[in-house]
């Protein structure tokens, strides 16, 4: 398979604006890729999107979009869809008028615009919302309309600024799945900015970690999270026992997930490619393979024992490497040592799937 074509290239981008900074950011986004930029509040994520959208002009550096240097082009000549964190739906228009806006300013007749709006609304499942006033929409509905509005102009690139952060937990999950689904259906290129590793792991083909205006690490989410290249990256991607796998069988909601070196049982309705994570506190270590209600029982060998006050951290190689936290008391009790064979037990209901 040949390397996909580069759609967006950022070359040494720098910008100061209010209290925010972008420092010498270089990045390549491939055509068709879903790229997640993850970083804490104040890292400059929003400013980065606004530079790409053309809302601000960089102090230095170039932006190459689809082979064209757009650094000096105003937003209206870039064809980049932008969904800000607060959605910014036009409050004086209906949902449908919002979606049609980009088409109408492009000179589409009302009839032509309605046709495109109808088509995208069908595909995004928001047909029943079109006549509603924006102020009557829920957060999740507003997010869908904002997505539809940005997608209606068939942008080269979709920029999503913390698209899930303003939503409650339930809607957040729903919209996350929605993003996954419409992305599969429509196949757009997107840059999605977030502070939540779940979004990065679940949605991102690749991700970048941003901190203090700089890009610290770029790679596949699973690689970045399992192999953070610095303490800073580790501190906010710090998720243990994160694995990428594939659902290969199920009984009801109990799914069997192949994670390369091992099989993990978890409760999920999802199929296909998934990410799974197990909290190190939730894994029980035994010396014998005992029959318990825990669906997961993996044989492994202790590679490393280190202090994690008030607990002790074990690295256990069990096909894949697990981190397990146990009490000091347990280490002595079971006489745990590096090189010792152990069994890891954890419940299917303690495995997070996303």
């Amino acid at each position: 398979m040949s390397e996909p074509e580069i759609l967006l290239e950022l070359k040494g981008l720098s910008k100061s604006w209010k209290e925010f900074r972008i420092r010498n950011v270089s990045l390549e986004i491939r055509r068709g890729e879903y790229f997640v930029v993850m970083g804490p509040t104040g890292a400059g994520k929003t400013l980065l999107l606004q530079l790409i959208a053309g809302i601000h002009r960089p102090d230095s550096g170039r932006i190459i979009l689809d082979g064209i240097d757009v650094t000096d082009l105003p937003p209206e000549r870039r064809n980049v869809g932008y969904v800000p964190q607060n959605y910014a739906l036009f409050p004086h228009m209906t949902a449908g008028e919002n979606i049609a806006y980009g088409l109408r300013v492009r000179g589409y007749s009302k009839g032509e615009a309605d046709e495109v709006v109808g088509e995208i609304s069908r595909r995004l499942g928001i047909e029943e919302l079109l006549d509603r006033r924006v102020s009557t929409l829920s957060g999740g509905e507003q997010q869908r309309i904002a997505l539809a509005r940005a997608l209606a102009i068939k942008p080269k690139l979709l920029l999503l600024d913390e698209p899930l952060s303003a939503l409650d937990a339930e809607t957040r999950e729903e919209i996350r799945e929605y993003l996954r689904d419409i992305r599969r259906a429509l196949g757009f290129t997107a840059i999605h900015v977030t502070h939540d590793f779940v979004e990065a792991a679940d949605l991102g083909d690749r991700m970048a970690v941003m901190f203090g205006g700089e890009i610290l690490q770029v790679g596949k989410p699973i690689d970045v999270m399992n192999n953070p290249r610095s303490e800073v990256v580790a501190s906010f991607t710090g998720i243990k026992n994160l694995f990428r796998g594939r659902v290969v069988g199920r009984v009801g909601e109990l799914a069997e997930i192949d994670v390369g070196g091992a099989r993990i049982y978890a409760l999920t309705k999802r199929g296909g490619e998934v990410s799974v994570a197990v909290r190190p506190e939730s894994i029980i270590v035994t010396l014998e393979p005992v029959k318990t209600s825990a669906r997961n029982l993996l044989k492994g060998v202790i590679r490393e024992i280190s202090e994690k006050p008030p607990l002790v951290s074990l690295k256990v190689e069990a096909g894949i490497e697990f981190t397990v936290y146990v009490t000091r008391n347990a280490v002595e009790d079971l006489n745990l040592k590096e090189g010792k064979n152990v069994y890891l037990a954890f419940k299917a209901s303690d495995v997070t799937v996303f």
């Binding site: 606004q50 959208a53 053309g54 809302i55 105003p74 937003p75 209206e76 870039r78 064809n79 980049v80 869809g81 932008y82 969904v83 800000p84 607060n86 910014a88 036009f90 409050p91 004086h92 806006y101 980009g102 300013v105 492009r106 509005r149 940005a150 102009i153 942008p155």
Partner: protein, 256 residues
């Protein structure tokens, strides 16, 4: 009974003095009006001429304030520049200066023998005792109201709305026309109504710059001085009714 309402009772009593002083005149005037006199006033050609002069002047002044003031307000709402604070302060001087002084300032700068005025004369614009003078004096004392109201309106709009419109392909102008203006219409409209009312209310600057053609506020003074208090009552009641209408329109515009 508990005493919690004590302060409100006292304050209401004290405050009702202010209400009385302000409302009694508004209530007495209509009561003292002779209906036949009122009917005559409505027929009086001098009154209707003065009214149309005033309304024409105030409407033109408001129009000019809209044309020149709204773009200024937008720039001031969105851009930072040197001495912006000083400019803001200077633009508010016409609202705090004695009205006759405002008239002197305008006449001094724009009378037909002044350097600017002579240029204007060549263009056919003379301000002394013309409608142009009325418009200019009214613009000077009232346009700052519209500028600050429009500016406040623009400042309240989420800039992300403009950003998104641009990314969707709208030019900056188109964005202004289709997003910014519709969303600040209330602020601009209420500012325009207040500007218009302020222009109509002007006396001092008009006495200096353009006592003729006679505006309605000056006609009230003329009638009062020539024929006494009772002769001014019918015009007063007509204009009082108009002010009430304006205030009620404003309440509607602001959606309270």
């Amino acid at each position: 009974m508990r005493k919690i309402e004590g302060l409100f009772l006292t304050f209401s009593a004290v405050g009702s003095v202010a209400i009385l002083i302000l409302l009694v005149p508004m209530i007495l005037a209509p009561l003292m009006t002779d209906p036949t006199q009122l009917a005559e006033a409505l027929m009086d050609s001098e009154i209707s001429r003065a009214l149309s002069t005033t309304f024409a002047g105030a409407s033109l002044a408001t129009l000019l304030a809209l044309i020149f003031g709204v773009p200024l307000a937008y720039v001031m709402a969105r851009k930072d520049f040197a001495f912006k604070g000083l400019l803001e302060s200077l633009l508010n001087i016409p609202l705090t200066i004695p009205h006759s002084v405002a008239g002197i300032l305008v006449l001094l700068a724009y009378h037909s023998r002044s350097s600017i005025g002579s240029i204007l004369s060549n263009l056919g614009i003379v301000i002394e005792d013309t409608l142009w003078g009325i418009v200019l004096a009214m613009f000077f004392v009232s346009s700052p109201i519209l500028i600050s109201s429009a500016r406040a309106g623009f400042s309240m709009i989420d800039e992300n709305l403009e950003h998104v419109a641009r990314t969707l392909g709208a030019s900056h102008y188109k964005t202004f026309l289709t997003v910014t203006l519709p969303l600040s219409l209330k602020a601009i409209a209420s500012g325009a109504v207040l500007t218009w009312a302020r222009a109509v209310s002007e006396v001092g600057a008009l006495l200096i710059v353009a006592p003729y053609p006679k505006s309605i506020a000056l006609l009230v003074i003329e009638r009062f001085e020539a024929f006494g208090l009772s002769s001014a009552i019918p015009i007063t009641v007509i204009l009082l009714a108009m002010s009430l209408a304006i205030v009620l329109i404003l309440n509607c515009v602001l959606g309270r």
